[in-house]
Amino acid sequence: MIDPVLLALQTGPIDVVLAPLYWLLEFWSLLMSAFADVTGLQMFEYRFMHRAILVGLCIGIMAPLIGTFLVHRQLALIGDALAHTAFAGVAIGLFLNSVIDLGVSPYLTAVVVAMIAALLIELISEATDAYNDVSMAIVLSTGFALGTTLISINAGGLTVSVDQYLFGNLSTVTSQAAAILLVLFAIIISVVALTRNQLLYVTFDETAAEVSGISVAWYNRIMVMLTALVVVGAMQIMGVILVAAMLVVPVAGASQVARSFNEALLVSVVLAELSVILGIAVAYYAGATAGGVIVLVAVGIYTVSVIGGKLQTALGEESRPEMGSIKVDETEQFGD
């Protein structure tokens, strides 16, 4: 089922590891082609679109999932800071490839650099006892400055445009990049599924979480590292500059209408997927940059959510339940 030409082109050691995922991508492509036959939609006919759509759908789940925890800790900007350091990682990857012919995907170097930056931000905040705007801004600018400098030094030897990293591009998602994204996606989903209790507690009430025996510092580190993974994964079609929007905008929309935390997670994923699908479709047919269109759609949905939330509050005012009485004596669970 695997295209032999495609296989022959993939020779790096990483491709051996990713082989099962290439097979998965082939299978996804078949599904999409069948979907194109049924619907007659041109958008679903091309292999590059198959990969772009898959990447988009994964972004639509992982970005708001992590974003929900970030936004409610007022850490919305950390995604932006990490995206810009990821750009430095891309630049380092391109630089190494052109100077010593390393042959490694720039997305992999981006993962490494963004993870290091994430840990640095976290350690600085632990040492200074606060996430501060200034250290975040310094990390952000340093990352971007390093990226642009490396790329400008290297300009002669570069065969790829950096535009795809800055603004994202539907048509440049390679099989390798899509496979790397699937790995990141699996890591993010598994870690969140495993540590959801702890992440929720730390997000909602850090001190009480610490008192209850949860190591807040460790979960903060996990959180920023997951953010780094999301940012690098989403960068492919969102671009460095707009990637943070997917962490924030659907989450902000969901918290306007959701009645519980679980609902907020679910709604934010639905809103993000809606933005991604509509955004990719509009970008494809209008020939626009996908990242920009996706964010504009997301902001549009957010605006509707704000209005919806206000209406909900206005209509829900009349039901005011009575407070119950305190009845400690009926329980036997307390004390020793």
Binding site: F204, E206, S260, G324, K327
Partner: protein
């Protein structure tokens, strides 16, 4: 309440088997070179209802953090249930209620979801079982919030919100409840109901440590008062505190050293 008024003497002569819940011995602490607390010693036994009072910047919250192991003392030892507080693994035995939840006010989360967190020390990475949920719902019922279980916390009044946090501590089956100025910003009627709840929990054997600025509440409810301002000015039964000059001395000291403690 009367059964507990002589609890301090009971702790001082702690008989074997009745370990102190909190044992602060000769503790000094400072965030910078200037100490916030100097040579503080305090033992709190099971079932006591203790209020810690003092002016702003007197080290009340610092003392609380040392008790809970959130800070490590520069000198001396802080023990919680007999183990060094900062290394103790007693998460489920301690309930903590802050002045305000530190999280974003916009966070969409229901009362039930907040109280559920009380079970996290018990379930770890796992899911809550049916019996865990039963405990959660019982705790919500205990604080009289059943009708609000599925309300967003952001829609509650200050008093209702604090009840939800108490319910979280109950759901964790805490033996020690530590409250840091829990009634700041809460309306008067809710404050009364809130102290009634604490009273009822106290009668059920839960140890209560109340960090409080409102002296009226303290003298009305707690059995034992610790008056603090960098050091302990008074530690004894509430009735004796009312008649003592500890307050004047502690708050007077605050007035003269206001600048360095902030």
């Amino acid at each position: 309440m009367s059964a507990h008024t002589d609890s301090q003497t009971a702790v001082e002569g702690t008989p074997s088997g009745r370990e102190a819940v909190i044992d602060i011995a000769d503790v000094s602490f400072g965030y910078t070179a200037t100490p916030v607390l100097g040579d503080v010693s305090l033992r709190i036994g099971p079932g006591e209802y203790v209020a810690v009072v003092g002016p702003n910047g007197s080290g009340k919250s610092t003392l609380m953090k040392l008790m809970l192991g959130l800070l490590e003392p520069d000198a001396g030892a802080a023990r919680l249930f007999g183990e060094p507080a900062h290394r103790s693994d007693h998460g489920s035995r301690v309930g903590y209620v802050a002045q305000h939840a530190s999280a974003s006010k916009e966070m969409p989360i229901t009362v039930r979801e907040v109280v559920k967190m009380g079970r996290f020390p018990h379930v770890g990475f796992g899911r809550l079982t049916a019996s865990d949920w039963e405990i959660v719902d019982r705790a919500i019922g205990t604080v009289g919030m059943s009708a609000f279980a599925n309300r967003r916390v952001t829609q509650l009044s200050g008093g209702q919100r604090q009840r939800a946090f108490i319910a979280r501590a109950l759901a964790s089956e805490a033996e020690l409840l530590v409250l840091d100025e829990p009634t700041v910003g809460v309306d008067v009627e809710s404050v009364d109901a809130f102290y009634d709840l604490l009273e009822a929990l106290h009668e059920n054997g839960i140890t209560i440590v109340l960090i409080e600025h409102d002296l009226g509440a303290v003298t009305d409810h707690a059995d034992r008062v610790v008056c603090l301002n960098g050091e302990i000015y008074f530690d004894g039964p509430t009735e004796e505190f009312v008649d003592s000059d500890a307050l004047v001395r502690a708050f007077g000291a605050a007035a003269s050293s206001l600048g360095d403690t902030a």
